[in-house]
């Protein structure tokens, strides 16, 4: 996967994860064009389209579009499953997730994504394991200080 974008029906960006190095300007341009293209699609059309030299897989969940750019040799149908799995993870974490959850907790959405995908590939296929890892990491935020690799705790 080269990148994943989440945007609303009005074209507002809610999440952007880039797995290829591009300048800010290029990212903005791509985002703008792609959002326009996907929003112009009619509901009866299929979830895939060719755009530049990439394959775009998109799916709409309520008011949010989930849009992934994959390479030629990647499987479009399984990408749909990847998108669905991510939505399921968000749903489990937030409890019936809606767009507002992602707006107000965007950093959490990123954390969950980063436990599910790494470098554009799936790193964990078990829903349970992803959620467990997030849970434990969240708990760790409660701890004031971490033990460093040297083993000495640093108290303020």
């Amino acid at each position: 996967m080269q990148f994943m974008l989440l945007f609303s029906r009005q074209g507002k960006l809610r999440l952007q994860k880039w797995y290829v190095p591009l300048s800010d300007k290029e990212k903005k341009k791509i985002t703008r064009e792609l959002v326009q293209t996907v929003l112009a699609r009619k509901p009866k059309m299929c979830s895939f389209l060719e755009w530049r030299d990439l394959k775009i897989v998109y799916k709409r969940y309520a008011s949010l579009y989930f849009c992934c750019a994959i390479e030629d040799q990647d499987n479009e149908l399984i990408t749909l499953e990847i998108i669905h799995r991510y939505v399921e993870l968000l749903d489990k974490y937030f409890g019936s997730v809606c767009e507002l959850d992602i707006i107000f907790n965007f950093e959490k959405a990123y954390f969950i994504l980063d436990e599910f995908l790494l470098g554009g590939e799936v790193q964990e296929t078990s829903k349970k394991n992803v959620l467990k890892a997030i849970e434990q990491a969240d708990l760790l935020q409660e701890v004031r200080y971490l033990f460093s690799s040297l083993g000495t705790s640093m108290l303020s």
């Binding site: 399984i78 790494l118 470098g119 590939e121 890892a133 990491a137 690799s149």
Partner: protein
């Protein structure tokens, strides 16, 4: 300084902004506050401030002043700080930024942290956006983590390694030892990421690929894992709609594809499991179809047996009938890839594919169109063309040009009749006339010119087509040209194919003049029209004065092109009137540059009309230059065999064997033992021989030069005489015509003549005139032999004769040594 506002608070506030300007104001205010907070090196709220900055960055506002702060957060010992710091790094600190490298040390430390979640953050960041330098520096750490027993870290390290390899391919080797036991893991996360890592390595390096095939025996391992996934019962942890870990299944299938490609052993080892997956996977949901799709891709790409390939194509065929348009799309894409190699199998699904032309989705329509063109052949051309023309009528404008071009190409290749061809062209021009590509116009004109008997019909139809509407430029151009050429046929009402229309010369000139005047006509079209009007001056009788007037008007046209033409035509009327009729006479049939060889046309042309041979110009024209090569091809190769009717196949093969025994080192050429060719191909029309400079009219160019003929064989009443000619154009070629005669009182039947020559020669035997040598010398069998003798060695030949005579089978061998020197020197 009051505590900076919380992230949620900021988001809420910004969302209340009613205009873009209001939002910008809020953002600027907050950014200023954040900036001063950063300047004060406030550790407590740094995390909060960076988080807010990231939110504003997502809205599209600049956030580069937060880059260094991210670095500070990463270096912090608070997990919250690190989490936001790394997130900020991934969003703001890609490798194009100067401070990117400063992360390296922090990441290195965190890769060795005691808390796995910190290590995880570091691996994630490195694996998502580490630069090549960073990867180089930290590859060792990643490799270490690849060998850890902690599966949480191991899976992340594997994907991090994939990124390192993508950035710095030379480092691939160092990860090889760590891959040894990756597939023994039970943890699906590790399995999945390991398969991805192995895939990356195999794709990048053929050596790695070979290593994994042979030494690591990767295929059996993968097969085993896949089998377990399919056969094992319900596993709640990895289940998706009844299928166990589809993500892993798909990745394994993809790796198998790479391993099986071009490798018979590997392909064989995975045959069974592929068949199993293909037949047992549940297809009611997308997830099952995703696996089937990957399976089909793998089957088609490896060296699978034909049964498996047919299974794969049938799966695609079923996909085409699926209600889910995504599935249909994927099927069409895959079929497009395989249509060349498995053409017949794909043909079976032709009607479903054609139905997809009517789909609502643009991408599906495009693929269906491309696939349809790939499937057109001589047998289905009529039906397919009907569908394609209907499609051309109703499709979106973006398709029309490609569709029109495709139709022209298909029509040219497979047209069952001239009339059909012209009708099809007409239909395209009238339906999509403005989308036809510019280069189609000259091609069409050439086609029309060469269809001599259809001229009247064509010009009539074209005339009728532009009468109502002359806005479609390509149509008008072709029509104008034709009217200019064949206007006389139009007014004389000579059309045979349909009811001839009554048209006067003035009416014809009216339409051409309208084209000239119209605003819609382009400069090119006007040029066509003017030239057409001029040509009609020699074809029309009553309206020459009108034509003169029109031409003289345009002598002062603003359009330079038109002006030049008009001035020149004017001159034709005045000073050069005596040349006018010669200059403007009917165009000759044009030399066609066929992309297919003559044999191909013969095979695909379904009906008996010998159209392709018609379009070939008579051999009196200049000969192709590569004649020597052609002759070598002919004498050595088999590509002309379909054109040559053969002698009975059984005898030559056995006879050949015997000759071989006897003749030892002498090169052998018997009669071509090819499959029977269509008997309808007449003897004389053997195009290859036209290429070698010897025309089919008297071959006997050098008969006057008088190479003496010889009696090659005379025994038991059978006499065989050789007469010689040398090629004018190729001195290494000798053409021998043998004549067999029979002086006995009974016919010799089933006569077969065979010849063998030494290795340095090449021989070609053409078909005999018959297989019966009539008795009492009442007739002869003639057969032509061509000998290529590039080294100009003395000609020697062994001949073998078999025939039936007086009820018994006869056979004889002889050597011919009495060739006259002029036949080979």
């Amino acid at each position: 300084m009051p505590a900076p506002i919380r992230l949620r608070e900021l988001i809420r506030t910004i969302r209340t902004a009613r205009t873009q300007a209001e939002e910008r104001e809020m953002i600027q205010k907050e950014c200023a506050a954040i900036r001063s907070s950063f300047r004060e090196e406030d550790n407590t709220y740094r995390c909060r401030n960076v988080a807010k900055l990231l939110y504003m960055h997502m809205l599209g506002y600049p956030a580069h002043f937060g880059q260094l702060e991210c670095l500070k957060l990463i270096a912090s010992q608070k997990f919250t700080d690190k989490r936001i710091g790394y997130l900020g790094a991934m969003l703001l600190l890609d490798e194009r930024q100067d401070v990117h490298l400063l992360m390296t040390n922090c990441i290195k430390n965190d890769l060795n942290h005691s808390t796995q979640f910190v290590q995880g953050l570091a691996l994630c960041t490195l694996g998502c956006m580490g630069s090549s330098e960073m990867c180089r520096d930290l590859a060792g750490e990643v490799e270490k983590l690849l060998k850890t027993s902690n599966s949480y870290l191991r899976k992340k390290a594997a994907l991090c390694a994939v990124h390192v390899i993508r950035k710095v391919p030379e480092l691939m080797e160092m990860f090889l030892p760590a891959t040894k036991n990756l597939l023994n893991e039970k943890n699906h996360g590790v399995l999945h990421t390991s398969v991805v890592l192995l895939t990356e390595m195999c794709e990048r390096s053929p050596d790695m690929l070979a290593h994994f095939r042979k030494n690591e025996k990767l295929v059996p391992q993968l097969v085993r894992i896949l089998k377990n996934l399919i056969m094992s019962g319900y596993s709640p942890e990895h289940d998706v709609s009844g299928i166990s870990d589809p993500f892993l299944q798909v990745r394994i299938l993809r790796l198998l594809r790479i391993l099986g490609r071009n490798d018979d052993d590997s392909s064989e080892a995975m045959n069974d499991i592929l068949a199993q997956v293909a037949t047992n996977t549940e297809t009611s949901k997308n997830v099952g179809n995703a696996i089937l799709y990957e399976t089909v891709l793998t089957i088609m790409d490896i060296k699978s047996e034909s049964g498996l390939r047919v299974l794969a194509i049938n799966i695609l065929g079923r996909f085409l009938l699926n209600n889910d348009k995504n599935i249909r799309y994927v099927a069409l894409t895959s079929l497009l890839k395989t249509v060349q190699t498995d053409h017949n199998a794909v043909q079976r699904h032709r009607s479903t594919i054609v139905d997809c032309l009517k789909d609502l989705d643009v991408s599906i329509k495009r693929r269906a169109m491309e696939l349809s063109f790939a499937l057109v052949n001589g047998n289905n051309i009529r039906g397919m063309m009907k569908e394609l023309l209907y499609f051309l009528d109703s499709c979106e404008p973006e398709f029309k040009a490609d569709c029109a071009s495709g139709i022209f190409l298909a029509a040219e290749k497979y047209a069952p009749s001239k009339r059909w061809h012209i009708d099809t062209i007409m239909r395209v021009l009238t339906t999509a006339g403005s989308y036809v590509r510019d280069d189609a116009v000259p091609n069409l004109i050439q086609l029309i010119t060469n269809s001599v008997e259809m001229h009247a019909y064509t010009v009539q139809r074209l005339y009728k087509a532009i009468l109502g509407d002359y806005s479609q430029q390509p149509l008008v151009q072709v029509a104008a040209w034709c009217i200019g050429e064949y206007g006389d046929l139009l007014v004389s009402g000579q059309c045979e194919e349909e009811e001839p229309i009554q048209v006067t010369e003035d009416e014809v000139l009216d339409i051409l003049e309208s084209v000239l005047i119209s605003n819609m006509s382009t400069s090119v079209t006007r040029g066509y029209a003017l030239t057409a009007i001029m040509k009609l001056s020699t074809r029309f009788t009553c309206t020459v004065n009108r034509i003169k007037k029109v031409v003289s008007i345009y002598g002062s046209s603003i359009d330079v092109e038109l002006q030049q033409r008009a001035v020149e035509y004017n001159a034709l009327f005045k000073k050069y009137d005596h040349m006018r009729s010669a200059l403007l006479e009917r165009m000759p049939v044009m030399e066609k540059v066929t992309t297919n060889g003559p044999t191909e046309i013969v095979q695909t042309n379904g009906e008996t009309e010998p159209a392709p041979l018609e379009t070939k110009p008579p051999p009196s024209g200049p000969q192709p230059t590569s004649q020597a090569n052609d002759l070598l091809d002919l004498l050595g190769g088999n590509d002309i065999t379909p054109v040559i009717p053969t002698a009975p196949t059984s005898k030559p093969s056995s006879a050949g064997g015997e000759l071989l025994d006897l003749l030892g080192d002498i090169n052998l050429t018997g009669a071509p033992a090819a499959a029977p060719a269509p008997a309808s191909v007449p003897q004389i029309s053997q195009p290859p021989f036209l290429l070698d400079g010897l025309s089919s009219q008297p071959l006997f160019n050098d008969i006057a030069a008088g190479i003496p003929s010889i009696t090659a064989y005379s025994k038991n009443g059978l006499k065989i005489e050789f007469t010689f000619e040398r090629s004018n154009t190729n001195p290494s070629v000798t053409v021998i015509t043998i004549q067999a005669s029979n002086s006995t009182e009974l016919d010799m039947t089933d006569f077969v003549f065979q010849a063998a020559v030494p290795k340095t020669f090449q021989l070609q035997l053409l078909s005999p005139s018959s297989s019966i040598v009539p008795a009492f010398n009442t007739g002869t069998i003639t057969q032509v032999i061509k000998v290529l003798n590039p080294q100009k060695q003395q000609l020697r030949m062994r001949i073998k004769l078999t025939y039936n005579h007086k009820g018994s089978a006869m056979q004889d061998l002889a050597e011919v040594n009495n060739f006259p020197p002029q036949s080979w020197q």
